[in-house]
Symmetry: C2
């Protein structure tokens, strides 16, 4: 190993050493960025992903690339994060792009679609299945670069005041569920509601709504839904996983020194591993607590899943017929989902299903 | 954004700039490390993980931390990699620690155990379930630090000349299977064989062995086993996932500048995401090709899985009774596996099992 210690004394000593050793280069000038999250500090895995990201970048760059993290709404409102990044109000953001499906449903591919890919399959599609190129092209048109950066994995179907025993029970059900999941459920008779986070509990308690979905046990527990709606349904088929990305303003990213760009990218990759791991641990523990507090875990009836799948696929086809960007993404994503579903069925699920029983039996 | 361009002209200009700007610090001196992999270049996802790792570190450090990658056997034999790292012959290695279970079965926890954790659960246990602390303590005693760095995900059960229809069919079966998987199968009557990689195909062709396990479709395809043993069994229950780690010599790691240590760690995290994604894509495609070339995918009968699970759990208990390190790890790992199995059964698998059918049906 050829390794020399380099001790910096004073500016003069540094300068002398530099002249003596052409191998010593000056570090790039310091840069400060602002990273606006869509999430409050209380959603500590989502928000915590930003602080982990920022701390790693600081460590990698000896503190010279300083990414300051701002919680929901501090500089830009939660659902304006992409606009803020696009126009350079902030250099970077952390959000789930599917909040923007109202502008273009193509955004959903960066997060998830109903009956979409698992967390692992999403990474596989993005990094080795052609997804990243298509997504980057889409975001480049908006002066942004996306960095997949966290996956919640499969979300729960949410909290229901009454049991759902068949498709019939969905008719007229008032449920807080945004986005494409809401569109799918509306075709099954559900009346989707949009409510601010702070209003959901009271609406559920009073019966203004009959059900709400949120994320998974860990995040759901904090909002206390188990107190007012005991039936906790699985799976959240409209969010079989959900990727949350870091977004950078493209011009500003391109202007960074190469090592700083590299730090930004690799720190997102690390969060990708870490946040899913953290969710898995936190969700598994929270689920036990929720059950001990009276929540009853239930599975959606098969006819609900089947009919929802049918209307969901039709929705994707409809959108592809009128949206060229969506079609381009769907044409890559859907065959990929099929190939991965087959492989998963042949091996991983054989093992996982056995362990889901055997691993608990002791 | 406060961002200044810093252009280095000549040594004199640099020196002047340094004197003028106390914010500009000199970069740490260059370091060269040697990374010895246990894998040949032909296992391109495993070996490729090392080049990806090395390239990212170079990029993050402006080329000043140069981790030179050596393929299997170039500096140290494949199954001597840990010894090489321990004694400083090489600064770093990439290997699956379970090759060392002959020295201490505790090594298995860094890779996998029979009926162990899935790839995602392994990350969850390591990073947020207490696993990393226990593993780092174990490796610190050996002057090493482990960095989880790649997971093959669930491996296949391997290639069998004849069908396995019941436990009875395993009696006397000569199978190439090393490690704890071999120990488990030997208790079911299998006669485990150890063969060098280059000898497996011929032994299988001639009938000197009846079966062999390897990795998964992508790596298996290259060795051509489908030509001489058509029955391709799932799942590889002794490798429900398999983590391959980067190992660093502890003293040498501790002596690195903080930013270089950080680069080493985060680059391993990135490979952790990327290599599994690459395996998923490559395996799914290879499986289709193997089937078109005549391989028949089969699932081990339930009684084989059940009996194997029983003897496997007994093996872990036996080892814990005589090995304090193993016991400490098992006491953390086994309850973790139970909690995760429950959570997985409640939600993720409900979704995955539905998609394994629905996602293919179109």
């Amino acid at each position: 190993m050829s390794r020399r210690k380099f001790l910096v004394g004073s500016a003069a000593a540094t300068s002398a050493a530099l002249l003596a050793s052409p191998a010593v280069r000056a570090q790039p000038a310091a840069v400060t960025w602002r990273l606006q999250s869509s999430y409050p500090k209380s959603l500590e895995i989502l928000y915590g992903a930003c602080t982990m990201f920022s701390e790693r970048i600081a460590e990698l760059t000896d503190g010279r690339f300083d990414v300051k993290v701002y919680a929901a709404g501090e500089l830009v409102p939660p659902f304006q994060v992409l606009e803020g990044v696009r126009n350079g109000t902030v250099e970077a953001g952390q959000t789930a792009s599917y909040y923007w499906v109202g502008q273009n449903k193509a955004h959903a591919f960066d997060t998830t679609l109903p009956f979409g890919l698992s967390a692992r399959q999403q990474n596989a599609w993005v990094f080795y299945g052609g997804g990243l190129k298509l997504l980057r092209d889409f975001y480049a048109e908006q002066n942004m670069v996306n960095f997949p950066g966290l996956n919640t994995a499969a979300q729960m179907g949410g909290w229901f005041r009454k049991q759902i025993n068949s498709l019939e029970d969905l008719k007229g059900l008032r449920m807080r569920i945004p986005g494409m999941g809401g569109e799918v459920l509306s075709k099954l008779g559900v009346v989707p509601q949009t409510l601010a986070a702070g209003d959901v509990y009271t609406a559920l308690e009073k019966g203004t709504i009959d059900a709400t979905e949120w994320v998974g046990p860990y995040d759901d527990e904090k909002l206390g839904f188990y107190r007012v709606a005991k039936n906790y349904y699985a799976p959240g088929f409209w969010e079989g996983s959900a990727n949350v990305s870091f977004f950078a303003n493209k011009e500003k990213l391109d202007a960074l020194p190469k090592a700083f760009r590299s730090a930004f990218e690799v720190a997102a990759q690390e969060v990708n591993v870490m946040a899913t791991a953290r969710y898995d641990v936190a969700n598994a523990e929270a689920l036990r607590r929720l059950v001990s507090k009276g929540a009853t875990v239930r599975t959606f009836p098969r006819d609900v899943l089947q009919e929802a799948f049918k209307v969901s696929e039709a929705l994707l086809d409809e959108e592809a017929a009128k949206n060229a960007t969506f079609k381009k993404l769907l044409d890559s994503w859907r065959p990929f989902r099929e190939t991965q579903s087959l492989w998963s069925r042949v091996n991983e699920l054989q093992f996982a299903n056995f362990m889901a029983q055997a691993g608990v039996r002791r």
